[in-house]
Subunit: 349 residues, 4 copies
Amino acid sequence: MTSFPEVRIAILGASGYSGADLVRLLALHPAARIVALTGERQAGKSMGEVFPHLGGLDLPVLTKIDDVEWSQVDVAFCALPHGTTQAVVKAIPSNVKIVDISADFRLTDAASYAEWYGHEHQATALQAEAVYGLTEHKRAAIRNARLIANPGCYPTSAQLPLVPLLRAGLIDPDEIIIDAKSGVTGAGREAKQDSLYSEVSEGVHAYGVARHRHAPEIEQELGIAAGRDLNIVFTPHLMPMSRGILSTIYVKLTAGHSATDLRRTLVETYADEPFVRVTPEGAGPSTRHVRGSNMALIGVFADRVPGRAILVSVIDNLVKGASGQAIQNMNVMLQIPETTGLSQIAMFP
Amino acid sequence: MTSFPEVRIAILGASGYSGADLVRLLALHPAARIVALTGERQAGKSMGEVFPHLGGLDLPVLTKIDDVEWSQVDVAFCALPHGTTQAVVKAIPSNVKIVDISADFRLTDAASYAEWYGHEHQATALQAEAVYGLTEHKRAAIRNARLIANPGCYPTSAQLPLVPLLRAGLIDPDEIIIDAKSGVTGAGREAKQDSLYSEVSEGVHAYGVARHRHAPEIEQELGIAAGRDLNIVFTPHLMPMSRGILSTIYVKLTAGHSATDLRRTLVETYADEPFVRVTPEGAGPSTRHVRGSNMALIGVFADRVPGRAILVSVIDNLVKGASGQAIQNMNVMLQIPETTGLSQIAMFP
Amino acid sequence: MTSFPEVRIAILGASGYSGADLVRLLALHPAARIVALTGERQAGKSMGEVFPHLGGLDLPVLTKIDDVEWSQVDVAFCALPHGTTQAVVKAIPSNVKIVDISADFRLTDAASYAEWYGHEHQATALQAEAVYGLTEHKRAAIRNARLIANPGCYPTSAQLPLVPLLRAGLIDPDEIIIDAKSGVTGAGREAKQDSLYSEVSEGVHAYGVARHRHAPEIEQELGIAAGRDLNIVFTPHLMPMSRGILSTIYVKLTAGHSATDLRRTLVETYADEPFVRVTPEGAGPSTRHVRGSNMALIGVFADRVPGRAILVSVIDNLVKGASGQAIQNMNVMLQIPETTGLSQIAMFP
Amino acid sequence: MTSFPEVRIAILGASGYSGADLVRLLALHPAARIVALTGERQAGKSMGEVFPHLGGLDLPVLTKIDDVEWSQVDVAFCALPHGTTQAVVKAIPSNVKIVDISADFRLTDAASYAEWYGHEHQATALQAEAVYGLTEHKRAAIRNARLIANPGCYPTSAQLPLVPLLRAGLIDPDEIIIDAKSGVTGAGREAKQDSLYSEVSEGVHAYGVARHRHAPEIEQELGIAAGRDLNIVFTPHLMPMSRGILSTIYVKLTAGHSATDLRRTLVETYADEPFVRVTPEGAGPSTRHVRGSNMALIGVFADRVPGRAILVSVIDNLVKGASGQAIQNMNVMLQIPETTGLSQIAMFP
């Protein structure tokens, strides 16, 4: 059914939501064969016991990381908790390519990492080597990388609209406000009171106001696009929904530019991209329009206030914001056509 | 990418949820090419305007049914409102194969149709010809059919566990109680106060108690399986969820039989079926485990009350309960491998 | 503002949902003054820290149970985890009246308790003394009780329709099937994976099939009403909603009786009850119609199958199924008018 | 039970969500007696048929507006669709006090009204007379008013934090960005596809970007507070929840001021207010904390970006954003203690 060489895949941390979504997507990837699934506390169980929706698939039993036979693995996806990946990755043989979904290798600056994550980085050499994997904007580097730092979900939704506009000098780098709304899967599958159904349903609140760890990641990458350091205002909100991120982004236009220029730049930038689309004028995107798919949608609106525009960006946090982009990055690394295994249409309703 | 001959497809009533899910699934079907989409009130619009999540696909513009060029069509899916299909189908050229998702051709008895739908059937010849398309149990007839009456969502969830048990004489045909729970998409996309978010969220209620139109459909088919007429108790409930049906079915065992016999019979019946699975002992299915997929899961439990068992059956009402089973039936009719285009893994969460 | 003598109240286990709802309701009770709130792990915190929606009230700080000054307490509500109450209650001075929301004193038979709860009861004398507090049917005993075993949420929703029908001999005691649907607060506020938003939203499943601890409680009380032992079929389902229980109850009529007789008996039984109402013919109740209130609604339907009827019963599991009925019982014990503090209208939507 | 003189109340437009919530709250108001309920299309029905959760109350049958006996009415609440109130209000006898929940009398400028609502105002004299009823900031005028323009839900949530800060000159009037998130009841109970459960659940989107009618209302009132005209950036979002509005407000501090100054000013302004509370430092409010109550909560946060702060404001859109504030205003007009009938504690979960 496929002419690709088989890719043998290990998923480390397969018992979380990102791990499950990697399996969901890779099961339809013609080149992928999952040879190892790990879950330290679930070792010995079948994937169907941990995630019954995957119960019909022919999958390896969950093991501990120490029991992975690395000689049988071509690519490892790391979906481990933040802070734990760096030690694990150091121990993986160097011929195994790695896409890390955690935050461990996203910040390039060791001091910044230490400040935001509360401990020194334990694999600074790898930190320096890792390629930040916002696929649409980093393809050349990804192609030659061994270790990909897969972007965070909030940062992906923020960068896709902002990077081209900053590069083109169309917006003021010092006046960017990102009001982001996320589904609950962003908090993982761990049992936490704050993620209980009755704590989340039928309401909304902001969290981590002015102190969310995705802010420095966004600033790092937008700074590269702008050609200089910048600060953003970033407020995440928890929404009563499982999947999806919507970022409403308030920007000021630089002199002589209009929202039409923003739209044109984004349309041109993403004209040939399979996974990014600018919505038609007047039509804003909804997270429902990308649920389960690797798509990102971007809406562009002129504001009533002169000199201002509003961008609305949506992704599925588990797909383009995690597992989907990770597979997209694997495809690029392995020079498999980039959309392979990612053709899922969004599921609505 | 495929060796199948191309199948040119028209979807009548594409502006509803079943129509949209047909598109979602057929977009990944290697043999299918959608050549016509109809929506009487939406004619002239693009599918992306009506369903933005489908906005990235290359699809024909919506037209009126009268504007379909039937010479270009091999298969028509009818996802029209109940009662309107029969007139439409009469006018379709006889070489076009038809899968009707509405209820128009499900009841074989004209008098029963008139009683439950409030008007005489307008295409009784076709009604007689139509094949009831519960794929797993009607393959021989489907293979030779021109017109398939695709089963209702509730009836599909009820028949999959019950038909084999009645055939095997393991349960009392006069003591079947089906307590069914459905997602809101079962009520369609029409604007109705009863389907508003604030009327549905965070609560549950029964509806159509003792008078739902799916009861005679279930009785017709279970009667065939039992070899005699029977009555069922059937109560549908509206759930705060978009997709999914769960049927909790209470049965009495016939003399000398146990829940273990029920389990064994269902496991054997469905051992080679790609879309029906019996869950492991002690593990009940959830609608979340089949969301977006064509799978049906069945749980079997011995009751504390001697001589009784409880069956729990789940499907996605829009997939195995409508669009997915319709494509499965098309595949059988056209002798395409039955799982083609239906490999979607359930999306959880 | 009130002519009642002040009642000094301690709430043990105030950091759970039932505790919070006791506070919500008692805050508007003209005779109640909350003098102690306990939460072993939250001791030292204000109630507003634990439940911000109560942050505006003037409430005592949370303490450990050992720090309650019992001389200042007239009534204690116990909203502690099952199994822990019995030891606590033994230590409470005998002049303090107690309403226990846990299951510890509901089963009157010590052997049955041991079988279903996995350990011997530690306060069998109190177990014998406790009065089962289904208010509408136990007023005389409640009035003279010191210790009330507040009924479980499922049992309350099942007994209100069934007790009068069994007493009147209108239904067959051996053919009762209760299909119950509960909101997630029934599982408490403890962090559990099964109660996470993403595990519960947008789906439904049965749990504890044929082995839920509320079954023996229901059987005990229905047996009293029927005048003999009986077994029920009982299947609970977890719903994507925070509050509410709906029980769909399938019954067989005894010879010579009809659904009209059931309706008449229930209407007459509850004609003067402030908190139980039979819905009009043809109109089924929804959990949304009682959300936040102490009301129970009962719908009665003749089935299509001769000799059968269907009852639909709804309550708010946290109010009539826990805190509200507890306050109702306190009012009866103290001979305060029974509706005092319970006048909250259901909140819809 | 009360020493207040009885107030005879008519609710015009009682078949919508605001009407129902007026009934829910007024049922517990010791001075209120509801003597008329209108609903043009529902005339002749009981309130219990239209809203079963109110079925247990003793209420007048719904009539047409023309059938209200105005001689029996002291106060009319108008919960009619926007644009229809002005004609109705003109016909009400002048001794009847009116609280209008629609938008008809909120804009004081006739030209602005015509621009945003698409037609000339039909009662400009009343428009000039109407008092804008943000209770906490307009008490003196409300006390002497006959006609109150009850503030919109978004404007209430925006003004409560912003009015004191603009008055005190602590924030830049030209740099206010309001990112607002609303529950679905804000769209009313009318059957609209956009409000269907399956269109709203499990997702989020912005709507009315840069063209929502609440923007001029907010600008009018903030302009008064600032002492000069201003423009705001305002983006509403539709949330998968029934009740609640959360406004995240981004502001720039004027020279020499800090977020601490904002907090102090808000705490002082609302120190004696029963319905407005500033949340403790570091703790943001959730819409869940005010659900069903008349409370507004305000969180204040210093931003990481120097010179910036973030305010988070929550209300229940149907209570403080509509029916609750309407009753609060009636109390002020009639010199009844302001909290009368509004003591409902928020219901969580």
